[in-house]
Subunit: 341 residues, 3 copies
Amino acid sequence: MKLKEICSLLNGCLEGDPDLEIRGVNGVEEAAEGEITFLSHKKYLAALKDSKCTAAILPEGVSLETGKAVISVKNPYLAFAKLLGIFHPPIKETPGVSSQSVVSDSAVLGKDVTIYPLVYVGENAKIGDGTVLFPGVFVGDHSTIGFHGVIHSHVSIYAGMQIGDRVVIHSGAVIGSDGFGFVPDETGKRNKIPQVGKVVLEDDVEIGANTCIDRGTMGETRIRKGVKLDNLIQIAHNCTVGEDSVLAAQVGISGSTSIGKRAMMGGQVGVADHVEMGDDVMIVAQSGVPSDLPGKQIYAGSPTVKRNVWRKTQMALPQLPDLIKKVRAMEKRIEELEKND
Amino acid sequence: MKLKEICSLLNGCLEGDPDLEIRGVNGVEEAAEGEITFLSHKKYLAALKDSKCTAAILPEGVSLETGKAVISVKNPYLAFAKLLGIFHPPIKETPGVSSQSVVSDSAVLGKDVTIYPLVYVGENAKIGDGTVLFPGVFVGDHSTIGFHGVIHSHVSIYAGMQIGDRVVIHSGAVIGSDGFGFVPDETGKRNKIPQVGKVVLEDDVEIGANTCIDRGTMGETRIRKGVKLDNLIQIAHNCTVGEDSVLAAQVGISGSTSIGKRAMMGGQVGVADHVEMGDDVMIVAQSGVPSDLPGKQIYAGSPTVKRNVWRKTQMALPQLPDLIKKVRAMEKRIEELEKND
Amino acid sequence: MKLKEICSLLNGCLEGDPDLEIRGVNGVEEAAEGEITFLSHKKYLAALKDSKCTAAILPEGVSLETGKAVISVKNPYLAFAKLLGIFHPPIKETPGVSSQSVVSDSAVLGKDVTIYPLVYVGENAKIGDGTVLFPGVFVGDHSTIGFHGVIHSHVSIYAGMQIGDRVVIHSGAVIGSDGFGFVPDETGKRNKIPQVGKVVLEDDVEIGANTCIDRGTMGETRIRKGVKLDNLIQIAHNCTVGEDSVLAAQVGISGSTSIGKRAMMGGQVGVADHVEMGDDVMIVAQSGVPSDLPGKQIYAGSPTVKRNVWRKTQMALPQLPDLIKKVRAMEKRIEELEKND
């Protein structure tokens, strides 16, 4: 592809030979001659100058002062993501329903659906236009999947779930397992609370491999538009995850918790049950949230405090053993002073 | 269903019109006219008075003083769970073995077994009366499952495992993977210790989605009667989990650890290997247990201490940076005093 | 098997009746008459003297002074692992490809491959000699698996992955799911960065149940020779795990992190992205690694410090509330002294 075509696709501003032939995209360090790379942060500028790349996507207003061609754009990372998709277009499936799958007669399939072998689609399930079900997918009775979804191998969708358009679910994820609800009787035996609610995944949601989302006890567990969940995450019954939130791997959210819009959580964060969070919350990896969090703040620690408080405390912590000794010594000096007073 | 019928099923005491027609159960805030709800704690009494519900299940001795009908019982939460099961009875499967499944000739199936398509049942496996295997279940050779089990899609049961009656296993759970045992030789290479033991799940156990229970290295890993494990839990080789224990999501238990009866663990708790715990232990979420824990106590922190100690420490912790400054200042004042002494 | 045969297989030195018949191996406490056990640490010497075992494998230079037969070797634990494999040989599969599986015509199968029913093998995939695919395995297009692998039920191997020889993958593990990469645009919407790289599992790797390894965004995620990963682990895009490393269950490694050789991590450890670790690092369970770690050290805590620092701090921590009170009291005494000064 010629550089001028790339520039036009990215709505950028070109400095260099427009007819240069670009044959691939790559990271700054990995890029070879004939490839294009990008700069997201000025600190990589030196590495970029050393790169073997032929061209680079730069933020507007940054100049390179080397022989390399430059495309200037507002958001180079976003432009790079777009370009990566152009050079590596998703594999086009050949629509069709494998005869080695089991699709109930009452299931409703849209246009251009792809069902690989060894898939099970239950009674009255609906699969939207252009959706792909990889081998081993299980779709329970009455569950619905919207348009242009990609459901990878061995995903389990229990009966009665509701999945929006353009949803991607990675292998082994479980949508709609029972919430963890048991009532002890007087003997200590745990009696199961029937879990009769559902899971709703709204449009443009992506769910990571082996992530589990429990159905509502009653009502629903809802993952709102544009939410991205990484691998091995637990979302308990009756939670809500707000629009465009991103949760990193191994996060666990307890029952009936509500997370605001655009939340960002690092890996292995845990959140207690019935917690309410505001919008635009950021939580550092491995933190533990015991109670409500106001929005537009960064939190850390278990239990969470504001991140700057946590940082100071963590830096002070290794001084504690010496502090104890010092205080003990000071006490003796005070005693001595008091004797002489 | 008439209110008097509900009252009779719950062994309760009715105040109000016995012929009221009740068409559903719901939470206090969600309940609509014609529905019944429940009160587990007095603090929700005001919300209950505002609820649109027609009737409520209350603890004995609590009165409502509104026009709503009341059923008084000892344990309203338990009564509610029962009622939920009455209004939402589990779907009755039509027993039968799908011809699109692979069931070994030597496998022994009980009465009224349901085997969905795409299931694999190995040599000499036994499936008890009334048990349901959803699509994609794998049952290895010589494994046995008791009566009235429900094994959800994509559960893997390795060869030689032993599963009791009324056991529920959610999608993607793995029963009997190899324990994590390797011996380094003089070159640093890890040599596998053959894992030849089994997993025993006793009666009335429920296992969450994508939870993993490793087989014993030798001997067994045993999950005792009535234990409930949430999603994404790790139980290592040769552990024992005591009767009626409940472990929340993402808990990890290392090898050869023994947990007492009625343990309760919050999410993401980790327990070291070879730990012995007494009965009735409670452990706060995200705690880490390095060594034995006496029973009938509440623990928190990593490493765990008693919860009240942990709470005091956590509350004191953000004061540490200021404390260090204060001690430094005091030291100077002491030096000053000593000079003048 | 006669004791002298065992001794010869282990290259040991025998003290006792060479013709004793040994019918099994077992742990020190579980061993019965006719069985052989082993001693890894002198502290179990008393238990061994009480054991009902007929023979024991001991480290060279340790004597037992009981009637039991003794085989002396350099590394008794390693000898024991070997012996366990002799008494419990792995089940020999009968090679063959089930007609109830779906194997693409363009797939290339080696000699003596075993493909159970309900397996899917994609276009141009290669399966090496002697490899076993259990029911429900999914192998995507163009993926390759080496010699003598064991791929357990419901493992998902995405398209284009590369797996070495003698690799064992436990049930439900996912190899090659998309890395977690999204770029926000000016509206806060997350745009997916196409994930076009692959996963390489080198020879002699073992992967635990439900563990997830994401493909590289570009390039690769590489698990080097002899690495053993436990269950429910997350390895993000573009990570490298060094030779012979062992990671316990529920560890999470963020993107582009590089782990050295022979690393050992306890359960639930988390590591940030872009971290570089030296060789021979040990990390205590539940620790959190925020930045680079030099090799040949033991680390603990979140954020990690050296283990001895962490231990002292953890032991001091419960004294903090009292320390605060003491300092407050001392301050008053200083004020008093200053008044009188």
